[in-house]
């Protein structure tokens, strides 16, 4: 398998001094779930937000290095950010359904990109809601406001919203942090389906979730990539002492 994304010596610092990345280099495989885990403030979310340039909108003091997606450096200022974000979708920790109906939420991105044909939109709604494992729960009330759904349902609608754009990469930033175990299970199961078509990068909300879902795992501590390995190996026989201590719950 080849690397979809290649991160080379990426460093970044926010203006307010919180979180940062220091010389991170790693390759991320296509059609696999790559998990970025570690204690808070380790730079996991920052890295995610670099991958779709959402950091452009925050105050960043300094950054260096490059990120290649399919060989193209996406940190280049000339890159079309809007097109990039359609290719690299993102799901956030707190589900943020936009203030509109379920259907409108799902087709929002498509509409923004200029798709108007109803048949295409309907098709996308069904396909992506099914992929996000929520179709059966909402198919009869697509015109209800998305805010009226439960947290777990909202999060899967948000996932569907991203999938509707048929991205190549899906970023998930602690997507299950506010969800009950059943909803969490559904989202995790959906991820295993997703990786057949997409490259999935997940910041899990617990070590256990990391162990459950990871094909590949990267351990971040205070902005540094400590260890990066196959998921199974990482959670059974980690090479680094720090990784082992964290996985065993000795700190964090």
């Amino acid at each position: 398998m080849n690397n979809k994304i290649l991160i080379e010596n990426l460093s970044l610092q926010y203006s307010d001094g919180t979180e940062s990345l220091r010389g991170v280099s790693m390759g991320i495989r296509q059609n696999a779930v790559t998990v970025l885990f570690g204690p808070a403030g380790g730079g996991k979310s920052t890295l995610l937000r670099c991958l779709n340039r959402l950091n452009d909108l925050t105050e960043v003091r300094a950054s260096s290095g490059q990120i290649l997606i399919d060989g193209e450096n996406i940190l280049d200022p000339k890159v079309d950010v809007v097109a990039l974000r359609r290719k690299v979708g993102m799901v956030f920790a707190r589900p943020v359904p936009l203030p509109m109906s379920i259907r409108e939420n799902v087709i929002y991105g498509l509409e923004m990109s200029g798709e108007k044909r109803k048949s295409k939109l309907d098709e996308a709604v069904e396909r992506s809601l099914k992929l996000a494992a929520i179709w059966d729960e909402v198919k009869d009330r697509l015109n209800d406001p998305a805010n009226a759904l439960s947290g777990g349902q909202q999060q899967r609608v948000c996932l569907a919203r991203v999938l509707a754009l048929q991205p190549e990469i899906v970023l998930l930033d602690e997507p299950t942090s506010g969800l009950d175990p059943i909803s969490t299970g559904k989202v995790e199961a959906a991820l295993q389906e997703l990786k057949k078509e997409y490259t999935v990068i997940l910041v899990p909300h617990s070590v256990q979730q990391a162990a459950r879902t990871a094909d590949h795992a990267a351990f971040f501590l205070q902005g540094e990539l400590i260890e990066y390995d196959d998921g199974k190996k990482m959670f059974t026989t980690p090479k680094e002492k720090k990784t082992e201590d964290y996985i065993m719950g000795r700190f964090g």
């Binding site: 959402l54 809007v82 097109a83 974000r85 991105g109």
Partner: protein, 298 residues
Amino acid sequence: MEKSLSFREFIITRLIQASGYSAILFVALIFFFLLREGLPTLSEVETSSLLNVRWYPIESYFGIFPLITGSLIVTLGAALIAVPFGIGTAVYISEIAPRWMREILKPLVELLGGLPSVVLGFLGILIVSPFLRVFLDLPTGLTAFTGSLLLGGIAVPTVVSVAEDALDSVPRAYREGAWALGATKWQTIWRVTLPAARSGVLTAVMLGVGRAIGETMTVMMVTGNAPVLAVKLNSLFSPVRTMTATIAAEMGEVANGSTHYHVLFFIGMVLFLISLVVNVIASAVVFRAKKRAERILS
């Protein structure tokens, strides 16, 4: 010792209570006074005469209809100017402007809100109205449109600062959600941020309109004060007289207790009613928004 302490508590509590109640009392008294002076109109002047189109109090023509239409046309014009400009400015300040620009613009807008209306009227008489007279080739520059322009200027800061607060309180996550889906800045503003702040923006519009309809000094200075029925299309570009200007101009010269005097108070009641309706609508909208916010937070 303890007794004196609790006595002091008692006094302070009662004082605060009294000042709270007095505010209600004053409003009630004003309202009562307004009713007492205004209501006799209904027995002194026939309703048909009140709704007439002639306002010529010296000869007992008390048609307040031209005054109402005058106020409405000036306010409507002001709203048409203030709403797009105000919301546009608010969007710019809250969504687009870089931080240093925002820090200059926000206090500047609030400063503008404190501009005495008589100063604005001054500018209106000396600059705006001669300019309009020449530019639009009108017989006089003192028209409803002139009043609308200036009132719009007065209402803009109100609209901007309330709308800007509303936009500012839209969760950042909404915007990020839209951006992450590949929406452009403008698409995010138009389809996500503005709809999410809808109720606050509506309140801003209502408060702006309320500010415009109650404004007296500027309109008295620049609208020409001719009590002509303003229902034709070109009324916007001819002189009108508003309710506020009528009260301000005539109250000082009227015989206490006369019919004219009562009618002026009656106009005050109408004005009061209109701004009450605007305010009730505004607060109903805010109330609904609050309930929704509570639901989301819970």
